[in-house]
Structures are given as structure tokens and as C-alpha cells.
């Protein structure tokens, strides 16, 4: 890459970006020196940890790298996704172990009364004791407790909105004193809302019918007979 031609004024000059200061972190109880500002995941690799369980999409969407951490002198243990959280000096962290929460199984298209069925599938859901630990455990800042209550009250639309940010890391489940797995409750309510409460889009049905009736067959015949050159001209001529 031709970097010599760069206008000096268009260069970020932060010395610490080239030679970052090192910070001390504790990984699963052992102290290590790592560059300031790297993600917890990169700190693991930097210190020679081979990661199998604990790495997934590396983009903050899959929830595989759910992590407990604590910052210097703070008694509060917090949660984050290791792929998307930066180290701080004095931080301690460990991956959250897999947790055997129960997921109910169901056919969302067939459940007779989805709102009532919630209590059969997840009878523990209405037993929430409002301790708010789930909300505090959520690395996505979802108001999990509120989401569970909305599910219990049958407002599945609100549940779907509340849990749209949920990456299913499952950190809300181990902290629940009523043994609720709020993320599973959220998925059920959200799916039931989508599958059973939302209206069917009319335009989609019409399009499917048009395809099934062969209404595009003449177009296809015309297009598929074309040479590459003709196709190129045709696609180039489509107004955008």
C-alpha cells in the first residue's frame, strides 16, 4: 500500500497506538501483562490461550464468549462478551461455563393458546421474585426482568421488542433464584408473537401465487434465451 504519499495532516498521531502501554489482568485467576485496550478475547490469544469453547462469531452477535469480569477494587462482578469488551488495568475475568438451563420444546405453529401455553412450557416464569439479577447480568443491557413480566402478562409484542438485542448468551439463567431461563422465555414469546399474532403480509401471498401460476414464465423464457451479451445489455438498461 502506498503510504508515502499520505498527507501528514490526515494521519492520526497517537503514539500509544503503536506502542500501547501494558496493563495487568487476571485471567481465570492468573496474572498476565497484555496491551491496553485490546479485547478480552485478544488478551487470551496474546497470552497463549488456545480458545475452543468461548469463541464464536467474534462480532458480538452469537453469545459464545459470555464472560464474568471484575474491575480493580470493585466488588461487583459484571458480565460482557469477551470479543467486544476491552481490558482495563487490574481487571479479572473468566469465561462463563456452559449452564444446563432447561429449554421447553413446542411447535409454535400448533400451540393451542400461545399465551396460556407459556405457563405449561415454563411454569417457573410467573414465579419471578423481582430480584433484578437477570437484568444486571445482561451484557446487552436488556431489561430482562421486565421482559419476563411482559411475557407473563401476555404482552408478547413488547417481549419481542425487549429481547431483540438478545444474543442468547444465557448469562441471565444462572443468576435466577426462581430457575427461570429468561432468554428461552423471550424466544418463545417472541416467536409466538411473530407466528401467531402478526398479520400475514398480503403482498407476499400474491407474489407466491403469481410465481406458482407461472405469471413470470414469458419473462423467463425471453431472458433465458438471451446470449450473455444481450443479458448484459438488458440488465444494464434497468432503470434504478
Amino acid at each position: 500500500m502506498a503510504t508515502e504519499s499520505f498527507d501528514k495532516d490526515a494521519t492520526v498521531s497517537r503514539e500509544d497506538a503503536l506502542h500501547p502501554p501494558m496493563v495487568t489482568v487476571e485471567i481465570s485467576g492468573k496474572p498476565f501483562q497484555v496491551p491496553a485496550g485490546v479485547t478480552l478475547m485478544k488478551a487470551l490469544w496474546y497470552t497463549g490461550h488456545e480458545v475452543t469453547r468461548g469463541a464464536g462469531c467474534l462480532g458480538g452477535f452469537c453469545g459464545a464468549c459470555a464472560t464474568y469480569y471484575r474491575t480493580k477494587d470493585d466488588p461487583k462482578v459484571k458480565t460482557c462478551l469477551a470479543c467486544s469488551h476491552a481490558v482495563e488495568d487490574g481487571m479479572s475475568f473468566s469465561f462463563a461455563p456452559p449452564f444446563p438451563a432447561r429449554k421447553a420444546t413446542y411447535d409454535v405453529t400448533q400451540v393451542a393458546d400461545p399465551k396460556q401455553a407459556l405457563f405449561d412450557l415454563y411454569p417457573e416464569a410467573p414465579l419471578c421474585r423481582n430480584c433484578n439479577a437477570c437484568t444486571e447480568a445482561c451484557p446487552q443491557n436488556i431489561d430482562v426482568r421486565e421482559g419476563v413480566w411482559k411475557a407473563v402478562f401476555g404482552d408478547f409484542k413488547a417481549v419481542s421488542e425487549t429481547f431483540m438485542d438478545c444474543v442468547m448468551c444465557g448469562l441471565c439463567a444462572p443468576v435466577c433464584i426462581a430457575d427461570i431461563a429468561p432468554n428461552f422465555v423471550g424466544v418463545y414469546a417472541s416467536r409466538a408473537y411473530g407466528a401467531r399474532e402478526m398479520e400475514k403480509p398480503l403482498g407476499l401471498s400474491e407474489r407466491i401465487q403469481a410465481i406458482e401460476e407461472g405469471r413470470y414464465n414469458d419473462d423467463w423464457e425471453r431472458i433465458l434465451k438471451m446470449t450473455d451479451e444481450e443479458l448484459q445489455r438488458t440488465s444494464a438498461a434497468i432503470p434504478s
Binding site: 443491557n141 438485542d165 424466544v187 411473530g194 431472458i223
Partner: protein, 526 residues
């Protein structure tokens, strides 16, 4: 200069930029730009493959070495099966889940194996949306032509027609399962404009489209009690005495034991290749995107197509360092976000195809109109605050909550500050040769999703990947389940591996690298 001071040019040039109209490039202009700046045309990055079904074809060094690589297992491994199933699905992303669900729906006994957890994939990260021609001013034919143009006319017509025609029924299936696509006030599916498309055709779930679809599909795979093997990496396929596929060998990543699965049909849905960091590019891909399926299929004798072309997503993050390589959703550009060089100028129609936009960003940077970070990275600005100015305060939070959060973690407020971007290795345009049911030339071996090739030609259009996964996951699942009813379980042998090793020895490339790679080796060795 202070990083924030560099933003000023984006803010001061905004009014003038908004008056500008940059037309999309003509085909001739596009070809010239790409030939000069696109990484696919960097000759030194390529070499011919030494042997095998694609002997003599050129591809990038990283992939050539992997295809010629040696298996992790010995020829005389004991092949007593631990599991015997009708359909074995390898991979737990979008294509794998769709394949497993449809095969199961046909009554097949299905096993889904993945080297990570179910759903840990690229699919879960897809933010931009899913192209399906549902709008009144649109049609499958229009979708076909747009995709063909984006793919440089190299797309397999049969695969492409199949995908665009089945799109609407896939949308219906996902809605029935409870996927919450964005809607218009009249209840119809809301469509957004995607790069390279002449019609608004992207179905979205805010900027969580992939996450929402995968949450639902994962949940459904669990609801159907489909047999799962997690943290099991496929290290070799098995062949019968006639060369047909008869199962696979996995490495259990927890206890390092081998697991042998006998299967009447096998569907490879192992995803892409970004973690090979082709040409040293950062990547937007997930941890396991090491192209395992390509190596496994190649050793079985299946030819690959279009393996000389990769997609570099125009907007990979170039700052802050923690986010380098991660995607900045194309949605920002779909909604009218400008790309701006260090001089405060726009330099490309932001909605042109990905290869055009990526090439033009590389051009700006190579010609000195980029912004440089001290970590040695260069990039151009994406004017995210421009959307707040244009569409009102709160626009970003409403439409791009994931992105606002992604940057806020590192103290960057994309509502007030533009973000620095540079192309990132995103997608493998080509892959294993398949027919419209995902079947490869090797009997009983199917491939679906990013591992397959031909559908996207030489450049995949935004939003076509999610649809590809669903359509060909479904078709391969249904076909593999039907085939499993008509065939007997084949013998379990490593005949193909012995033949492959003989070839490798002849070409003196035996034992140079081990493939599949399974994971990138990021752990520092001292």
C-alpha cells in the same frame, strides 16, 4: 493530528455533498476500476493448484496450500461408526440449520455436527438483510438480472433462477416460524434498498436480521430434537468402494477422540474462508471460517468453481483497533450514508456493487486521499452523523441499534462522529460445484451455503447470502432425505484419501500443511 479534528472535514463538507449525485459506473468503467484496484486482480497473490480436480487453476496461495494439504488422520484409522444416520449435516449456521430442519421434516434421521456451538456462524452476524422480490414494483426476474449484473454475468443461471423464485416461499416459511421481519404500516414486508440492486428488496429485522433468523432456527432445531454434536470438527469424509460419500470422521474438540459417523447422505454446510486472512486482510468472519468444507470436498474429488474470487466488504472497521475487520453494516449506505475521503469528497456511488465500492476505497487510499491511523491502517470516512442530520435525531438508534452499541463500547459515538472504514475479507464468492439441489458430482455428497459455488458468480450481491442459505439448505435437506430412502448405507473407507495422498506424493507437496485448519492459530507461541 487528533483523531477528532480529522472529523471536521466530514462535518463541514456535508451540505455540499448532499447536493451531489454520483452515477453508478458503466460496465466498462467498473471493469477498469476493478482490474486496477480489486485484490482479486493482484497477480502476486495467486498461484496454480498443483493437483486434484482443479489442477492448474489459479487461486490465492492460502487456499491452494489448504486444498493440497494433508489430512489429520491416518489411512488405517478404525472406522467403526459411533453414529449411523440417514442424513449427516456438517455445520450449524444458517444453511446447516435449514438443511437439518427440512431433512428432519421429511422423516429422515438427522445428525447435525458443528465444531462450535449450534448457530455460532457468519449467518448470525448478517445485518444488512435478505433479498427477496416481494415488492409490487419488483419481480424474481428483476432479482435475477440484478444478481447477474452484480456477479459479472458469471452466475449459474439454473441456481440463480431457483434461488430468486423460491425466495418468497422462504419468507413465508420464516414468518410461520415466527421470524419478525420489519413491516410497513399496511402489514406488508418492509423492503430496503441494497447495493447493486435496482429495487428495494431487502427484508430486515432492524440491523439484527441474521441474529433474529438464527435465534428462531436454532430454537426450532432444538424443538425438533434433532441430534446435535457440538464441538465436533469434521476432519475427513468417508467414501464407499464406488467413491460415493458414506459419512465423515470428526474430532471431538473436548476429548480429542475421533467420532465416526456413517450416513447415507452428507450435507456440507461449513461456511466460508475469511479466517485464512487471504492476502493479509482482516476479516468480518466468525472464528471457525477456515474453509474446511472446501478441503474435505476437494479430497473426495469434487471440483470447485470461481475460487479465484473473494468478496472484500467495502465497510470493514479500520478504527478503533479493537473493531478492525468487523463489519459496519451496508445499511448505513443503503439509507444514504456517504463515503468521504480525507479531502471531504465523495468518490463513488455508495450503492454500487461491493466490488466497485471496495475498489474505489482502495483507490482513494492508494492515491493518498485516505486517512491513516498510527497502527498503520488506512481508511475513508463513513458519514454516520449525516443520517442523523438528514433523517432526524434518533435515526441511528432506531435503525442501527447494534452498530451504535458496537462503537459505544469503545467510546465512539457514531451519532456525532463519522467512522473510519476499509475493505475487509467477507465472503468466498465461489466454492464447491453443485446442482440446483445442492448435489455435487460425488454421489450422496451435498453442499449448501457459502461452501458451494456458482450461484453468486464473481461477486455476491448484498442480501443474497441469507437467501442462498435458506433456499439451498432447504433443497439439499429435502433431496438428501429423499435419497437416503432409496440407498443403502455405503461401506466406510478412506479410499479417496489414499488416492489423494498418492497424488500429493507425486507432486511433492505431501505433508506441507494440515487441512482442514479447523481454527486460526491466534494463540501466541513464545
Amino acid at each position: 493530528m487528533d483523531f477528532h479534528a480529522l472529523h471536521d472535514v466530514v462535518h463541514t463538507s456535508r451540505d455540499a455533498r448532499c447536493q451531489q449525485h454520483l452515477p453508478r459506473l458503466s460496465l466498462a468503467e467498473r471493469d477498469a476500476l476493478i482490474a486496477r484496484y480489486h485484490p482479486d486482480y493482484r497477480q502476486s497473490a495467486y498461484r496454480p493448484i498443483a493437483f486434484g480436480p482443479n489442477a492448474g487453476d489459479r487461486t490465492v496461495h492460502e487456499l491452494a496450500a489448504m486444498l493440497e494439504g494433508d489430512s489429520r488422520i491416518a489411512d488405517d484409522l478404525s472406522l467403526t461408526p459411533t453414529h449411523t444416520v440417514d442424513v449427516l449435516v456438517v455445520g450449524g449456521g444458517g444453511a446447516g440449520c435449514a438443511a437439518a430442519l427440512h431433512a428432519h421434516g421429511q422423516g429422515a434421521n438427522v445428525l447435525l455436527a458443528t465444531k462450535l456451538r449450534l448457530g455460532d456462524s457468519n449467518s448470525v452476524m448478517a445485518q444488512g438483510g435478505m433479498q427477496i422480490a416481494v415488492a409490487p414494483d419488483d419481480s424474481p426476474v428483476q432479482h435475477f438480472l440484478d444478481t447477474l449484473k452484480g456477479g459479472h454475468m458469471q452466475n449459474d443461471h439454473r441456481l440463480l433462477r431457483t434461488m430468486v423464485e423460491e425466495g418468497p416461499s422462504i419468507a413465508r416459511w420464516l414468518l410461520e416460524l415466527g421470524v419478525l421481519f420489519d413491516r410497513d404500516d399496511d402489514g406488508n414486508l418492509h423492503v430496503k434498498r441494497g447495493g447493486g440492486s435496482t429495487r428495494a428488496r431487502l427484508l430486515t429485522c432492524s440491523d439484527y436480521t441474521g441474529l433474529e433468523i438464527m435465534r428462531v432456527l436454532k430454537d426450532e432445531v432444538l424443538n425438533q430434537n434433532i441430534h446435535l454434536l457440538e464441538f465436533a470438527a469434521a476432519v475427513e469424509l468417508l467414501s464407499d468402494e464406488h467413491g460415493a460419500c458414506s459419512g465423515a470422521v470428526f474430532l471431538d474438540l473436548d476429548n480429542k477422540r475421533h467420532i465416526v459417523v456413517a450416513a447415507r447422505t452428507v450435507i456440507l454446510a461449513t461456511g466460508g474462508i475469511g479466517r485464512l486472512h487471504i492476502q493479509g486482510f482482516p476479516t468480518s468472519n466468525h472464528y471457525g471460517a477456515t474453509g474446511d468444507g472446501l478441503a474435505l470436498a476437494y479430497r473426495m474429488g469434487v471440483p470447485l468453481v470461481h475460487i479465484d474470487t473473494f468478496q472484500y466488504h467495502p465497510s470493514g472497521c479500520a478504527y478503533p483497533e479493537q473493531l478492525v475487520g468487523q463489519l459496519v453494516t451496508e445499511g448505513i449506505r443503503s439509507e444514504g450514508g456517504h463515503l468521504v475521503n480525507a479531502k471531504g469528497e465523495r468518490f463513488v456511488n455508495e450503492l454500487d456493487t461491493r466490488d466497485v465500492v471496495a475498489s474505489s476505497i482502495i483507490r482513494e487510499c492508494e492515491e493518498g486521499r485516505g486517512v491513516r491511523t498510527v497502527t498503520g491502517r488506512v481508511g475513508v470516512w463513513l458519514d454516520t452523523p449525516g443520517l442523523e442530520v438528514k433523517d432526524g435525531e434518533g435515526t441511528l438508534e432506531k435503525h442501527f441499534p447494534a452498530m451504535v452499541r458496537q462503537y459505544a463500547r469503545y467510546g465512539v459515538d457514531i451519532r456525532t462522529d463519522p467512522v473510519l472504514i476499509y475493505p475487509t475479507l467477507h465472503y468466498q464468492n465461489g466454492g464447491v460445484k453443485v446442482d440446483a439441489n445442492g448435489e455435487t458430482p460425488v454421489p450422496r455428497l451435498f453442499v449448501a451455503g457459502e461452501t458451494s459455488g456458482g450461484l453468486h458468480g464473481r461477486n455476491r450481491l448484498m442480501g443474497n447470502s441469507l437467501l442462498d442459505l435458506m433456499v439451498f439448505g432447504k433443497r439439499s435437506g429435502i433431496t438428501a432425505a429423499a435419497r437416503a430412502k432409496t440407498v443403502q448405507q455405503g461401506q466406510l473407507t478412506l479410499g479417496h484419501l489414499c488416492r489423494f495422498r498418492d497424488e500429493a506424493r507425486k507432486h511433492k507437496v505431501a505433508g506441507q500443511v494440515v487441512s482442514p485448519k479447523v481454527f486460526p492459530d491466534y494463540a501466541e507461541k513464545t
